[in-house]
Assembly symmetry: C2
Homo-oligomer: 363 residues x 2
């Protein structure tokens, strides 16, 4: 029996520009079957949540342009459960809207907020961890984030430094600090200290607790959403209110707006497999390799003297490659990217340059 | 006034496998606008011949499967002037059929035989050279080949060693030997000797002279075509005769079957620009480069730290490339080839491997 006061908010508005051109603004990363399983990352996220939260309590927050993709990929989702942002404003306004919306429907609600484009494995542990987290936030005035036990000195993630454990909750600690991506030296210190966890970007709290946190730390935004009380949950009125008030919200992340400021922040140490698939290299590291040490997405590769590459191609395509090592080859029909994996941080600049020189049709 | 006894045979049956996958068996090199001029190599060949030979005397010999492409690209060509080979048998049977066909129509005929997929520049010199060649073969019992004055120690071409000049014909010499592709050392000796010319694969002769040469040097093939005398020039009968007799011909080149054996072989030294576009490197060397030193075919390229590459892509496609030097990148929609220019001689093997592993749809 699933607790009917538990809700889920799937954040699904990202544009996935780091995977351009395989991920495009009209079909970003979360909508792609990135791992070749037959389900997109969004669908995998939904599937993972269904054992935990009643489908009628699952909300997807996304940019208005992705409504058709959401309906296509999640046909079971009630249309009223898709919250369409009229503008891109990072995670804090997105989460605020969802919290005010859910609180209007169910003042007793607790909620999990999750990205739609991460890879999670060992789902049994995931489910146990989330149930444990729900119980914690339902019984404490707490903002809970999930922290992953690090397995390597990763420089691409944010870290959470833990403080004293919570009595009676062996896997939950008070948070001491949030730390942005460290350099390798520092990451090694973090790893060996045992005091640092990876910040997963998955949160649990009650609607009441997160609303209070918005009031305390981003009060302008909270007051802006308060003006809509009485309209949330009434589709036409809510849509009109949001179209008028959402674009005026500051664009800011939930970490920066709330989590790094609040004093009631806790972290649950979890041990499921997790990867934010934030980079081509992360995707390469998490994907099965063929005999030659290449990773392929949706394509067949005939390779000669080539290894360490990732080939991501839309449609069934044959790639014949000779003498290429450690490259990204991403083909999106009208754009072909060939770039060393070591240079992938430059892809955002390349997208910008392509836009400057050739117009926005390639975004 | 064009001499009405002059004919042209355009050989158009090649499959262009060295340019795979940009050139595919269903649309080989000669049908592609390789130089971005708006005209395919075949169309450029036709355009070049029209000032020399009456359009009603131009024949195209090709494989049966290319008939629709020929009609599309050369709409002025009478359908009866397309000789469709029922099987691929190299150049000797192709030329024999054309010679027997033309001799049946016009016993006084002289003819130029030309590939359809070479690049020729300085067309005024080309026209003068061909007119000069026609006059020579119309007045001598001669098989004439065109020899290009070499400008570099090219190892990719065949060479012709010249013997004594013909009295009264300053640009024409007797041929001493034909030499296959030399190594670099030998090519340098050839170049400095002044005795060697590049073998262009363009021939002139009378129908009578080439038929006699077939009788002398490949008599089986000549007797086979003799059986069709009385049927050539009568479309249905000729087609039926060819379908029964052509496939039985030995697959052999005209050089090997006739030119290297005959004693009445002459070469005209010509100075028009010529390149057989036999390799990606040859195409690269003969194409304008962009600022970065890359050559592009039908595509836009945004390049970073990349030079010496050739990008050949069907349809309008944006290529974004970083850190690639001296590669071939050829995209044909369902196949993408990435291969160092220095390894291009392996492409035939790659085509073979692709066929073995993935079936013939990629040929």
């Amino acid at each position: 029996m699933i607790n009917p006061h538990r809700y889920c908010v799937i954040m699904c508005g990202g544009i996935g520009s780091r995977f351009w051109p395989y991920s495009r603004s009209n079909r970003p990363k979360q909508f792609i079957d990135f791992l070749g399983t037959g389900r997109s990352l969004l669908q995998m996220t939904y599937d993972r949540i269904v054992p935990l939260v009643s489908p009628s309590n699952i909300l997807v927050v996304t940019n208005a342009e992705y409504a058709p993709l959401i309906k296509e990929q999640l046909p079971d989702l009630n249309e009223d459960h898709i919250l369409l942002e009229p503008a891109r404003r990072n995670t804090a306004p997105c989460i605020a809207w969802a919290a005010w919306h859910i609180a209007a429907i169910d003042p007793e609600a607790s909620m999990i907020v999750t990205p739609s484009d991460h890879l999670i494995t060992r789902e049994k542990i995931f489910i146990e961890s989330i149930e444990n987290g729900f119980e914690f936030v339902e019984n404490h005035d707490a903002l809970l984030t999930l922290g992953i036990t690090p397995t390597r000195p990763e420089t691409g993630y944010g870290y959470i430094q833990i403080s004293e454990p919570v009595e009676g909750c062996p896997s939950i600690n008070k948070v001491k600090t949030f730390t942005e991506k460290p350099n390798l030296e520092l990451a090694k210190v973090f790893l060996s200290s045992g005091e640092f966890l990876w910040n997963s970007g998955i949160f649990l709290w009650t609607a009441k607790a997160i609303k209070e946190a918005f009031h305390s730390h981003v009060s302008d935004m909270a007051r802006s959403f308060d003006k809509g009380v009485g309209l949330f949950g009434i589709p036409e009125k809510e849509t009109e209110f949001i179209s008028q008030n959402f674009p005026g919200c500051m664009s800011i992340s939930i970490d920066f707006a709330v989590m790094e400021k609040a004093s009631n922040v806790f972290v649950e140490r979890v041990d499921f497999g997790w990867n934010d698939l934030g980079t081509w290299s992360a995707l390469y590291d998490n994907s099965p390799r063929n005999r030659d040490g290449n990773v392929t997405q949706n394509c067949r590769v005939l390779s000669y003297n080539s290894s360490g590459n990732i080939f991501a191609v839309k449609d069934d395509k044959l790639i014949v490659v000779d003498g290429l090592k450690d490259y990204i080859v991403a083909d999106a029909g009208d754009v072909l990217l060939i770039c060393p994996k070591s240079e992938e941080q430059r892809i955002k600049q390349m997208v910008h340059d392509a836009n400057t020189h050739f117009g926005d049709k390639y975004l």
